[in-house]
Amino acid sequence: MSMIEVKGLVKSFGDLEVLKGIDQNVDEGEVLCIVGPSGSGKSTMLRCINRLEEPTGGEIYIDGELITDKNIDRIRTKMGMVFQQFNLFPHMSVLDNLTCGPVNVKKEDKAAAEEKAMKLLARVGLAEKADQFPRNLSGGQQQRVAIARALAMDPEVMLFDEPTSALDPEMVGEVLDVMKSLAKEGMTMVVVTHEMGFAKEVADKVIFMDGGYIVEQGTPEDVLSNPQMDRTKDFLSKVLV
């Protein structure tokens, strides 16, 4: 069974139709990378999956369960989300950023949640920053904390919305490394990205979106090295230069 099933997803903002009918499955343990030009609808598709944008039409199933307004809070606990702008909570220490979800939403024991948080921080290489506040961290460090915060909820799926686009170039690598190790461990991931190298190396499947449609999809070799559609070739010729 697919971990994520998207059926006939349509999203409009007023008169502007951003997604024009998307069908896509993501299997358990699969890494799906979504590439495409700005305004192609790729971020909107990702945000519809955890309902930060309410779909105009279509259905989305997570682990076989249809997402509705009623069950979204519970289903969101299964989906970690990583944002372009990190969105760490600035009034909380790094450690509290990691524990506030598990403690308040999943009612986990505070001490146990802190122990788990410290392990996650060690995993992203930031254990010594536990007591710092986000403003004292570099962008790359903040994004690694944001990934750890999402992982603290023990999600079954991780969603990444252009996680390296707001970073200085020298910090992109450290974030991608964390994501690669996650993928290796079998995490189901949907990644909206402009990092073609990452997509080639890590993705099981790549979809190229443009104008609210999926133009082309397949293995990274199929889509990124040997594209069939002119629109895909045109886009790749511009970004890979």
Binding site: D73, G80, M153
Partner: protein, 224 residues
């Protein structure tokens, strides 16, 4: 010089009343103001309209008029409908009016504070599975409070000065003390200078503290 000192000391006797009326009113105003701010941002149109009308009515009328309605108008209305309602102490309607009044102003302050918190904060909180209410309580409001603290304190300074109208509904606060002494001594100028100084004793240290806090915060943010 002695007569000025006396005027000042007499006005100062009103300070406790002015201070506690102001404190109770600001607490009342903050609670109701938060409620109004949340109402103005709900999906429910009815709640939004109620909040808007409330704010417009309160901001569109002088506090003295509101105080007269509450202290004298409301009891008369209730008495004419057959009850024997009477305020046990005129400080009570005074505090209520000050609280209702500052709620209208604070709701705008709180609303702007909530809106000043980055939109991504709500999204990050919701994506962890928090309900809207929990996200407000744990993530948005704590950040909004830091943003609005100076404006909130300024509203408190304004409120302290505004309570001077309460003398007209029988509350013996700073201004009323001065007026009463003036009526018996005819030392008009010293009496009102004393009143002014007594207000300044409250408002100027407060304003200085707000400025100090803002400077400290600006420095901290510049360092980040």
């Amino acid at each position: 010089m002695g007569v000025y000192l006396k005027g000042f000391l007499i006005a100062c006797k009103g300070i406790p009343t002015t201070v506690w009326v102001s404190i109770v009113a600001i607490v009342l105003g903050a609670a109701l103001g938060l409620l109004l701010a949340l109402c103005s941002q709900t999906k429910s149109k009815a709640l939004r309209v109620i909040a808007k009308v409330y704010v417009d009515v309160v901001r569109g009328t002088p506090m003295l008029v509101q105080a007269l309605i509450m202290a004298y108008g409301v009891p008369q209305l209730l008495q004419s409908s057959g009850t024997d309602f009477k305020w046990p102490n005129l400080v009570i309607p005074a505090v209520i009016v000050c609280g209702l009044n500052s709620a209208a102003y604070l709701s705008e302050v709180i609303r702007s504070g909530i809106q000043a918190v980055d939109k991504g904060q709500m999204e990050a909180a919701r994506s962890l599975g928090m309900s809207r209410g929990m996200a407000m309580r744990l993530i948005i409001i704590p950040q909004a409070i830091r943003i609005i603290l100076p404006a909130f304190a300024n509203e408190f300074v304004t409120l302290i000065k505004e309570t001077s109208v309460l003398g007209y509904v029988g509350v013996v606060e700073i201004l009323r003390r001065g007026q009463l002494w003036n009526a018996s001594s005819f030392e008009t100028f010293p009496a009102y200078i004393g009143v002014a100084l007594a207000y300044m004793l409250l408002t100027i240290p407060l304003s200085k503290a707000i400025n100090g806090y803002e400077r400290k915060r600006a420095k901290k943010e510049a360092a980040a």
